[in-house]
Symmetry: C2
Subunit: 181 residues, 2 copies
């Protein structure tokens, strides 16, 4: 079931997530699926769990890097540099439509963003301790700025992979990190 839900998300995004699409993927009937998901909302909740799990399965490179090198690795991790990471990004960006239209999902996405910024924060704190950032830099602002830059590269690369091949995405992050120093 989870595999079928993930396949629908990967192919069609959250906008294409319907009981009918999941049933087709399973070779099942919509009627049978309503036993598992009495409503679209239940299906959406399950899909969010599935997308979260898939994200956690992606290999994290350079987990040992510290300071700005760690921030760089953490940003590269979210970029669509591989087919798997591209699918993951397509799924999450597609979720923003549903998330903006529903207060509960808006709050869910706000928490997800806050968790992500929480993963970036220790690297920024270490960079500050190591003197890689100007003394007195505001940690929360550097974190939010880095998150902004990363996601903005993601969206441009998703729509225009020819102009934003992996090596250019990496170069942009390197330039951003260099400017922080």
């Amino acid at each position: 079931m989870s595999r079928a839900v993930w396949q629908v998300l990967a192919d069609k995004g959250f906008g294409g997530l319907t009981l009918r699409a999941v049933a087709a993927e399973l070779g099942s009937t919509t009627g049978l699926l309503t036993h598992y998901f009495p409503s679209k909302r239940e299906l959406l909740r399950h899909a969010l769990d599935v997308a979260q799990e898939q994200g956690e399965r992606l290999a994290r490179p350079d987990a040992g890097a510290e300071g700005l090198a760690g921030l760089r690795a953490a940003l590269l991790f979210v970029l669509p540099l591989t087919p798997e990471a591209t699918v993951m990004n397509r799924v999450w960006v597609s979720f923003w439509d549903a998330a903006l239209g529903d207060p509960e999902l808006t709050a869910y996405e706000a928490r997800r963003y806050e968790r992500w910024r929480g993963l970036l924060r220790p690297h920024v704190e270490a960079a500050l301790r190591r003197g890689e950032l100007a003394a007195g830099s505001d940690v929360d602002d550097v974190v939010a700025g880095a998150a902004a830059f990363g996601h903005g590269v993601v969206t441009q690369a998703l729509f225009d992979p020819d102009r934003f091949p992996p090596e250019r995405q990496v170069a942009l992050v390197d330039q951003y990190i260099a400017a922080l120093r």
Copy 2:
């Protein structure tokens, strides 16, 4: 008709754009609307035109600023700093779901991004001429980086306006511009 389509986009995003929703907004019938929009695709095309027109109606501040000051003004222009700009951003971010699921719409969004980068480019070129950027900076990369930063602030602010009030969004852009110098 255009007003009703815009109202549906503003309230529900592209994901909620249906003939039924537009008909309800108009106090009309779905059947009548199919004379104007024989298919969902026609409705979507009209909605894209309407969203584009609405965006062009927003007042552009600081049109006279040059170099990095001009780049700053152009980035502030896209941020959700006012209710009108917030609605505009909600509409466009919601479009990304539909755009990622359809090659024609992906190409549309890639062109729209390229047009936007084209609006930022003259400011970056001027900044380079004025010596506000390191000699030898790659104009296309600075432009893409600035676009990335701007849109990444947009998405974080849309989901978490309490953490990203207008004054913080402006401060983040100011820090980004300062780091470019």
